[in-house]
Amino acid sequence: MNKRSIRIFDINLATQQVEVSHREDLDHYLGGTGLAAKLFSETMDPALDALHPDQPVILANGPLNTIFPVVTKVVAVFRSPLTGEYGESHAGMRLGLAMRGAGVDALILRGKADKPTYLVIGPQGVKFKDASALWGLGCGETGTILRRIAPGRGHRSCIRIGPSGEKAVAFAGVNVDTYRHFGRLGMGAVFGSKNLKAAVIYGDRDESIQNMKAYRPTYEKIYQKVVNTDLMEKYHDLGTSINVIPLNELKALPTRNLQQSSFEAAEAISGETFAEKTLLRQVACSGCPIGCIHLGLFREEFGKSHEYKFQSLSYDHELIFALGSYLGMSTTQKIYQLIDEVEQLGLDAITAGVALGWVIEALDTGIIRKEEVLTPVAFDDPEGCKKVLGNMVQQPNDFYRTLAKGTEAAAEVYGGMEFAMTMGKHEMAGYHTGHANLVGMAVGSRHSHLDNAGYSVDQKHRDQDPKTLVEALVQEEKQRNVLTSLCICLFARSIYDTETVLEALNSVGIERSAADLEALGEEIYALKNDLRHQLGFDLDNLRFADRFFETPSLSGQLSRKVLDEMLEYYQSITK
C-alpha cells in the first residue's frame, strides 16, 4: 500500500526555528483528530501546566479537506487550561483550504516568543512577525489590520486571539476568519501564553488529480447528495437555531442558569425570529455547498439624532442558548449585544454564558457580594452582563481572577456548586435532554457534547435502559473519531456513511477497508482515553450539580441513581 507522507511544520516560537518533517508512519491516522492526538501524545508533557511554554498546540488538516463537499474542518489539540485535561477543538471557514494551499498537513506550535508575535505561514515557509501593535486589540480589528499587512490576498486564513487569550482566561477561544472559532477549551489562552497573537496561512500550491476517472464521479455523487437532501433545509435555511422552539417545547432549553428548561420568551429569540428580523445572508466554509453560517444584522443607536452603527454577527443555536435563554435575554437585540462583546473579547460564548449564569445566581443568593462583582447584574440585563464579561477578561480583583479560571473554579472558592453547571469542569451546552447528555459530556474525551452527542442519544433512545444509552455513547464517539480524523463537518455525518467515506478515500488513492476505519476509531478512542488519564482525568472525580436533577428535562426528572448506574457500566466496559 502506498503511504502518504504527512508534512509537518514544528514551529518553535522561542527559538524561531522550524523543523520540517515528512512522516509516512502517520499516514495510518488519516489526519484531523487522529493525527493531532498522536502528535500531541509525542510532544506534550503531563508534568507541565496547560499554559507552560513547552506545551504544544497541534493543528491538523485532513486528506479530503476542501476537495470533497463539506469536508472543511481543521482539528486543534492542546492541554486545556479550563479542564487541565485533553483539549480538542474544531474550526472551519478557510483554514483547511489555506493549509492545503500552503502544503502543510499539520502544525506544531511550541515555546514562548519573547514578544507579541504573529506567524505568516505559506509557500515561502514560516515568518515570525512583531505583533506588539496588535496586542490588546479585539478579534475584529486584529483581522482588519492583518488583512492589510499580511501576504496572500484572496483565499488566506487568519486565526487570532482577542484580549481574553492574552490575559489567559481559561475559556478564551481562537477566532478563525471572523465567523468560526476554536472554542470551548481555552486554546486562546494557550496562544496567549506563547505570546502568539495570530497566524496568517496562505498558499496556492497546485495539486494534480491522479485518478480523474475515480475522483470526478465520486465528488459529483457526493455533491448531488449534499444539495439534494434535507441537509440544505436543516442547516442552510434556519440553521441549528431551528432547534430553539422544539427544545423549548420539550423542556430541554436551559433557561436562567437551568432554573428552568423552557423559556417564556423562546418565540422572541427563536431561529425563526432571528431569520425574519435580522438575517442578512448565509456563508460557507470553503468547499461546503450547504452554507450554514448565519449572519444577522446587529444595529445599535449610539447617538441622539438617528446615529446608528451596524455589524453582521454570526448566530446559531448555541449562542442563542448561552447568551440568550440561559441568561434570560428576551430579545434578539439583547443577544446580539452580548455576541458582539464576546466576539471582540475572543471568549468562548458557551462557557462565558454559563459562567455568567452562575454569577447572576450567586449574586442573587448572596454567595458573592456586589463589591466583588463590581456591578449590578441580573437576568435579561445585557448592560450588566457586558460589564461582567469585560471584568472576566480584565480581572480587576480576586473574584474575577478566580472566575477567569472557569465556573467550577469559582464555585469551589465561593460556593454555589449545586448550580455550577459543568461536567468535568466544562460548562454545559445548549441541551437538557437527559441522562445520556450528562454522562456523554462527563465521559467524553474532552467533555464536549460533540464527543458523543448525548443530547441526540437521549432523543433517539428514549426510555431505554442505562446500558443501551452508554453503549450508544461509546459507539458514537468511536465513529466520530473517524469522521473528525477526516475533517468531515459533523453536519454531513449522514452523507458520509462508511461506504461513501471509503469511496472518497479510494478515489484519491488512499486505500482503506471498513475494518480499517473501525479499528482506527477504536485506536483513537483508546489513545485519547490514555492521554486524558495522563492529564488527570478520573471518573471518580466527576461531579454533577444538583440543579441537573431538580429541573425537569426532555426525559423528565433525572435521577442520580440512573446516572450512577450508567457511570458504573461505563467503567466496566472501558476498563
Binding site: T66, I67, P69, M93, L97, R100, G101, G143, T144, R147, R153, G154, H155, C158, D177, T178, Y179, D204, R205, D206, E207, S208, I209, M212, Y215, R216, Y219, Y223, V227, M232, R281, Q282, V283, A284, C285, S286, G287, C288, P289, I290, G291, Q311, S312
Partner: protein, 137 residues
C-alpha cells in the same frame, strides 16, 4: 448563438468555492481552486461582500488578438477557445486582458483562460452564475 458565463447575482453567493473546484477539476485536472479560470473571493474578509472575477467573454477578445501562436482563438458568441498544446507560455494574453481576470499558471507555464464551458455553473448551489447568450446592451 453560443452562450457565455455571466454573474447572475453575486449577492446570492455563500463562498463555498464549488465553482472554482469544478473549473480546476475540469480544465486543469487540479484540486487547487487557485487553478480555476474564475475566482470568487471576499472584498475584505467575510464581513464584506463576495466578488466574482470571471472572464466577460469580450467580442474580438483582446487576449486572443495578441496571441501569436494560435493558442487563443476568438470564439463566436464571445470570449475565446483555447488550444492548450499551442500555448508556449509567453504570458502576453495575461497582459492583454483588460479587466485582469486572465491568470498564468506558473507551474505549468500556461495561460488559464475561461473557455465558457459552464462547468462552474453546474456546481453553484445558489444560481449565482449562469450561461447566457451575449446581448448588445
Amino acid at each position: 448563438m453560443e452562450k457565455i458565463l455571466k454573474v447572475a447575482d453575486i449577492d446570492r453567493c455563500i463562498g463555498c468555492y464549488s465553482c472554482m473546484l469544478a473549473c480546476s477539476r475540469t480544465l486543469r485536472k487540479s484540486f487547487a481552486p487557485s487553478r480555476a479560470s474564475l475566482q470568487i473571493h471576499t472584498a475584505g474578509g467575510f464581513q464584506s461582500k463576495f466578488v466574482a472575477e470571471i472572464c466577460r467573454g469580450c467580442d474580438n477578445a483582446p487576449c486572443a488578438l495578441v496571441c501569436k501562436y494560435g493558442a487563443l482563438i476568438v470564439r463566436e458568441g464571445g470570449g475565446v477557445k483555447f488550444k492548450e498544446d499551442k500555448c508556449v507560455g509567453c504570458g502576453e494574453c495575461v497582459e492583454a486582458c483588460i479587466i485582469d481576470v486572465l491568470h498564468f499558471d506558473e507551474d505549468r507555464k500556461k495561460s488559464m483562460p475561461c473557455i465558457q464551458c459552464g462547468s462552474c455553473v453546474r456546481f453553484c448551489p445558489h444560481e449565482v452564475l449562469a450561461m447566457e447568450v451575449k446581448t448588445d446592451e
